[in-house]
Amino acid sequence: MPDVAVTGVGLCTPLGEFPHHGDRTALEHRDDLVGLPHTTAASVASIDLRPWLKRRKDRKLMARPSQLALAAAGPALREWRGSRDALGLYVGVGREPGDDGESAAALIAAHRDGRVDEVAVAGPCRDVYPPLLPLKTLPNMALAHISIHLDVRGENGAWCGGAAAGMTALRAAIWSIHEGRCDAALVVASDTWVSAGAVRDLLRASGGAPIESPGEAGVALLVESLASASARKAAVFARIGTARGGAPVNDPTRHRDRVGHCHAADAMMAVAFCIGRRAPSAWVEAREGSQPAVGVSVAVDDGHACYDSGSRGDDRGGF
């Protein structure tokens, strides 16, 4: 199967739109993350969605992973002028989005003598239950908001399940372009772990083992066939494919000391780093537990465009 072209990149990370520049780190001490052994984390200071929202008030419907996803997807799609009906949308998401305590008041109100009391659910709980909560906590809400605000109407999917979610979405997109199921595809991975509740869950899930400093990110790539990119004279930043060939395995954790552990967005972040640092040839893979690894090849050669003016050929360390 031939590689596909990456013609759009969008990142919303704790280090901004170009996290691969230099050797900065966004990890910082955080007093608010209860129980984190080393109390450092990396979070996005502000998420500007104004360029992408059709209706500003819709932002209040969006949990943070959806905001990160839309903030990354918008720039990645900026140069696309083709059909939105034939534009695919493939999204990898992480933990349950949104409900960082929003339902706590309702649950506590429903609580009587160590159990949930249905009479209380119908009374005080119902009164304080956030009516929009079900619409924020569904795992496909990032996909929904991107689709709505960026008018993406083609084949789609939302995968969840940890580290491999983003890579699964990316591979599905590559195949779909190859098979002609869509003209181009927007692939997005998004995840956030920088809240006290998320850190608490991480610690509990680790069973006492040390955890890495948590992070958050939205990462988006626009991919299309090389022929399509050539026909519309699009800037091609890299080629990606599903065949490993002889490419060395890129360490998808290399960026964690800079933007933190982003779980479902980690591997897509590694792909973006490969592109940003103009990796000549790399294989990025993610593995969830004992499941088979899911990966893609990434190649950038001298004929490819830089997706940002700060990328330089001398910044290829490790690739």
């Binding site: 939105r84 949930v116 249905e118 119908a122 496909n140 929904a144 689709s147 083609g154 509990r204």
Partner: protein, 396 residues
Amino acid sequence: MTRRVVVTGVGMVTPLGADAEETWSNVCAGRSGVGPVTRFDASDLPVTFAAEVVDVAPHPADGGDLKLRLAATALEEALAQSGPVSGPGTGVCLGSEIGRPALDVLANAMRDNRAPSRADLERMDPAAPTRLVASMAGATGPQSTVSTACTSSSQAVGEGVLKIRRGDADAMIVGGVDVLVDAIMITGFAKLGALSERNDDPQRASRPFDSDRDGFVLGEGAGILILEDRDRALARGATILAEISGYGCSCNAYRITDSPPDGRGAHQSMQAALDDAGLEPEAIGYINAHGTSTPMNDPSEARGIHRTFASPVPVSSTKSSMGHLVAACGAVEAILCVLAIRDQRLPPTINLARPDASCDLDHVANAARDASVTHAMTNAFGFGGSNGSLVVSKHA
């Protein structure tokens, strides 16, 4: 040459039966699986009824979790029919939403400001049923979990088809599971105005395409299909139940909870599935509609059907009988299409007393209909605007 993908086993647990045959028999008989909530006292809730799944025996692998129990039970039925499929050539793709620990556990944890246990966290992971099914079957091929609300398991079946066609796997265990009937979910969906509030007549509450519909009925269940490369299934002498010949999907790009009135997203999904199957619209002999019984969905879907099919096609929504199984509905309704083709019999939409003029379709109303069906289509449309359509074909 593209590999053909066939179904060699099905299993399901629904409000109408503990297995596929019992469910199918009850659906065709026009029975309802909807009734007052029995799992807890719902008498003070805004909606006091649901389509609770039938009792199934605890499974050794379920850890006391109903969602995992349903997935395990449906899997065992499907594998008993297909024969064992396992190893690195077999993958798993299920549709699932977030799991929920027992509400009591969650409320206690929140009151005491402490985390849910590790086991609770693992159960809350949408991928938990996928992991269990892979482990039970010994499937070590590609695994993934699709979570697109009510479209989840339709897309999971579609992804399974694509994985086999692409050579990523020779067999795929696909389907979906959902368990949403609890006090908080009923309260939440009722607050959104999505549920029928026909508390005085639960069995007639789910009435897709009827003028008096007022919302969907929350249901729960699981459906599992064993998909295989056709050549491999024939080589091992498996009984082929049907072929999944087409899969298509689309996004509405409209609103989170509403479907576009012109039915464009539904049409795009159905047309993509037809194109994928290489079929003209007139080849389809039955449509198992998404048909939720909400005021908005049904006319939008009907419009999408009209845009796709120039000639009338028999249509029914089996959600009238078993409620809305959310992440499981796509797989369960695909299995019903398999059985409709096997028996050449179309299941009905019950409670269809006064068809809505905006849903002017060839309804299979209130009683099953014998018919010659070679190809059937099933639709699933989700909160958030993801649409999925599958074409199920008689194996030839």
